[in-house]
């Protein structure tokens, strides 16, 4: 007949409700923990947050294990595979829009609010509020007078750009090798990608350390520091998640889970990694260089 007849509808599953409970723990716990940080008085927020994270990890392991078992036993048709691929691409699109919000803030601040505060629009805001304020980017002196320094693009950021670009290439080779069933090259290239990802994270950590201890650039240093840390921070979080994703894939490659024509998870991980890479390129251009 046709592919439709075999579309696999899973039986009841405990994982989603466990995931909902986990997200509840994270949201409720994080909310109270944030208040606790500000007020300095102890609540149970942190414990609830950690419990929520643990529940989500438990859910991810359990849910994916189940899915892998189903996939390995051949329950998934070609059509299911398409559903997963489309789902993953829309998920990545939603991530793009999440970063768009922060890039939007960066552009708005750079194109409008900082020049306006500096009087470039000819309005009176400048004279009334902070007549001595000078519009510049990076904004190293805020209107209220906080001082900081700009982060140069030469050095760690440039190295990190090279690292991440290389990792995208190695991952692509890994994918090609998987499709040609060259297991050895696959393992080597995937392993290399993971190492590059981890070294990216290492360098970024040193950059943050450097920023906080020597440069005096912190999350609180006006909109320059805000956009710098929020953008690179969320990107770093995505690299972390992506690296974990790749490590799981690596283990599955070693177990021989993927075949040249059936490897949705590998495809998804690879898409995710390339997406994170593209975000970094935009970051490098708009946060560091320009």
């Amino acid at each position: 007949m046709n592919a439709y007849a075999k579309y696999y509808v899973p039986e009841q599953s405990p994982w989603p409700i466990i995931g909902a409970v986990g997200l509840f723990g994270i949201a409720f716990g994080a909310g109270h923990f944030v208040i606790e940080l500000e007020k300095g008085q102890a609540t149970h927020g942190l414990y609830l947050l950690l419990a929520g994270i643990a529940t989500i990890l438990f859910m991810i392991v359990g849910w994916f294990r189940h899915v892998i078992i189903e996939s390995m036993s051949g329950l998934y048709s070609k059509q299911m595979d398409i559903s997963f691929r489309q789902g993953m691409s829309w998920f990545i699109f939603s991530e793009v829009m999440f970063f768009a919000a922060f890039f939007g803030a960066l552009f708005f601040v750079r194109v409008f609010s900082v020049p306006w505060l500096g009087g470039h629009d000819g309005g009176v805001t400048h004279q009334i509020l902070w007549p001595h304020f000078k519009a510049q980017w990076p904004l190293i002196i805020t209107p209220k007078g906080d001082k900081t320094q700009a982060m140069p693009w030469l050095g760690v950021p440039l190295i990190n750009t090279v690292i991440l670009l290389t990792s995208s290439v190695t991952l692509h080779f890994a994918h090609v090798s998987l499709e040609k069933n060259k297991r050895k090259t696959l393992t080597v290239c995937l392993g290399l990608t993971i190492l590059l990802g981890l070294s990216f994270l290492f360098f970024q950590a040193t950059e943050y350390y450097h920023a906080y201890t020597e440069v005096g650039l912190t999350l609180k240093s006006g909109v320059y520091g805000n956009t710098f840390f929020m953008l690179t921070g969320f990107h770093g979080l995505h690299v972390t998640l992506g690296s974990i994703f790749l490590i799981v894939l690596f283990c599955r490659v070693l177990k021989g889970h993927f075949t040249p024509d059936k490897h949705f998870a590998f495809q998804a991980g690879s898409w995710y990694w390339h997406f994170v890479d593209v975000v970094w390129l935009c970051l490098f251009v708009f946060v560091y260089v320009l």
């Binding site: 509808v9 899973p10 909902a20 949201a27 036993s73 789902g87 939603s94 609010s113 505060l117």
Partner: protein, 534 residues
């Protein structure tokens, strides 16, 4: 392929052999379900409960505004009520109701066995009760819940808000996760699970409008997540995105928020367009007039929705160019919307009309939504908006669009598909009572608000000048009547679920679509073998 270890194959056997066609019993059925109908039912009930909770808040607001001066709520509590009423109705009542309808109907309409990603579907739903418990819990925290309006403008939400803002932010985050996953599921289902032979331009309009809605959701919910995150860091972590002293701009909040916010209002109305486009042809016993123009109109409304956000910000001192740009773009939206209204009227023209409850609500929708559309056009005129801005005129406008628009469409949908869902006919008499009570009281409730607004009564203030007293009294009475009328709906639905004359597969002679080819109620697994569509 590698060989499976014994433990793995044991799990598979247990899952693939218990492929029962009856739902399991008890609480676990609902907690662990992967069935699109069960999840649809959960969404619809959740939405109705939220509608009642948000409605109670609206009642409190109307009691407070019954007379000038303080009646029962102190100002901070009043602000919390307006804020949480808005959040609950938008994210808890209207959006989940549409997602519930999507879950129930899209697989039936396109001949699919279920939604494409059934487990994720369950997850999307079960996040919601938790998210709203968190939101409601803030009302009992020291300092109170969110009191800055559902639009949480900075600096109200960053400088002047209570601690509970942190919980507000995280509850919005997980609501967003839920909506995004729900939308992904809808898109993938429509792209990938249509019955063989079902072409794009044969899709029922409800499916089309939901497809576009889902796209809007995936595009803008992450932006909402971004902006609440900035509010969180501004308030608790010392950033200054919305603080000019650090180089930011409070107006930037409004730009990012409304970049989400305007598509959001179409998220709440496009599925309604789909519902009305199904019901009016059925009770006019004619094909829908201008099917393809309906599809193109929906797509163009969605595209335009991304470039009109500035019409919420005419009084913020934007440059003249932006004011004009946003004014013209907003007015262009009236064209595709007008096409839709024209098509609905043209469908009824010379049809053999009958006025069963779904049709009554659909006709009320067409008329009253159009009133909301016209007041929207008035608000879109930049110079006029300087007068209307932040008055009760705005409140009247969006309640016409969302209550007599979105909510009436949801009611129409419930009356149209309830026999299909429950297998029983409901009492037309009770439904007619519900309709007439609702349609009269809703106009008593919202129509005078236009005059209050034009006369200059500001919104979101617990007190008002004496000259507004008479109209406010009328508005409040209309509000109480509308609130009470909804209890009739509740009674009707309960009665319909518990019994009644059994419904045939197709209770409406003019209805069209695959969902009517299945018995009422449909079997637990919808189309196990896909239907052939010509």
């Amino acid at each position: 392929m590698t060989t499976l270890n014994p433990e793995m194959s044991a799990t598979i056997n247990s899952t693939s052999h218990e492929h029962h066609h009856m739902p399991p019993r008890g609480m676990m059925r609902w907690l662990k379900t992967t069935n699109h109908k069960d999840i649809g039912t959960l969404y619809l009930w959740f939405s109705f409960i939220m509608f009642l909770i948000g409605g109670c808040m609206a009642m409190l607001i109307r009691v407070e505004l019954f007379e000038p001066g303080k009646v029962i709520l102190d100002p901070n509590l009043f602000n919390q009520m307006t804020t949480v009423h808005g959040l609950i109705m938008v994210f808890g009542a209207v959006m989940p109701a549409f997602t519930g309808l999507a879950n129930w109907l899209i697989p039936l309409m396109i001949g699919a066995p279920d939604m494409a990603l059934p487990r994720m579907n369950n997850w999307s739903f079960w996040i919601l009760p938790f998210a709203f418990s968190i939101l409601l819990s803030t009302l009992f925290m020291p300092g109170g819940g969110p009191n800055f309006g559902w639009t949480f403008y900075a600096p109200l939400s960053t400088h002047y808000s209570s601690d509970s803002t942190a919980l507000f932010v995280f509850s919005i985050h997980i609501m967003g996760i839920s909506s995004i996953m729900g939308a992904m599921n809808v898109i993938v289902t429509i792209f990938n699970l249509r019955a063989p032979g079902m072409k794009w331009m044969n899709l029922p309009l409800f499916v089309w409008t939901w497809l576009i809605t889902a796209f809007l959701l995936i595009a803008v919910m992450p932006v909402l997540a971004g902006v609440v995150t900035m509010v969180l860091t501004d308030k608790f972590f010392g950033t200054s995105f919305f603080d000019a002293a650090g180089g930011g701009d409070p107006v930037m909040f409004q730009h990012i928020f409304w970049f989400f916010g305007h598509p959001e209002v179409y998220i709440m109305i496009l599925p309604a367009f789909g519902i009305i486009s199904s019901i009016i042809p059925a009770f006019s016993r004619k094909k829908l007039f201008g099917y393809s123009s309906m599809v193109y109109a929906t797509v163009s409304i969605a595209v335009l929705s991304f470039i009109v956000w500035g019409h919420h910000m005419f009084t913020t001192g934007m440059p003249l160019f932006s004011e004009l740009f946003f004014m013209y773009c907003t007015m262009i939206i009236a064209v595709p919307t007008g096409v839709k209204v024209f098509n609905w009227v043209a469908t009824m023209w010379r049809g053999s009309l009958s006025f069963e409850p779904p049709m009554l609500f659909a006709i009320a929708f067409v008329i009253l939504f159009t009133i909301g559309g016209f007041s929207g056009l008035m608000l879109a005129i930049t110079p006029a908006d300087f007068q209307y801005h932040n008055t009760y005129f705005v409140v009247a406008h969006f309640h016409y669009v969302l209550v007599t628009g979105a909510v009436f469409a949801i009611m129409a949908a419930a009356y149209y598909w309830l026999p299909k869902w429950t297998g029983h006919m409901y009492s037309f008499k009770l439904a007619n009572w519900h309709f007439w009570c609702s349609v009269i009281s809703v106009n008593v409730l919202f129509f005078p608000m236009h005059f209050l607004g034009l006369a200059g009564m500001p919104r979101r203030i617990p007190d008002y000048a004496l000259q507004f007293a008479n109209l406010n009294k009328i508005v409040s009475l209309g509000g109480f009547a509308f609130g009470l009328s909804q209890l009739l709906f509740f009674a009707l639905v309960i009665k319909c679920i518990r019994g009644g004359e059994s419904a045939p597969a197709k209770p409406w002679d003019g209805a069209e679509g695959l969902e009517w080819t299945l018995p009422s109620p449909p079997p637990y697994h919808s189309f196990t073998t896909p239907p052939e569509v010509e």
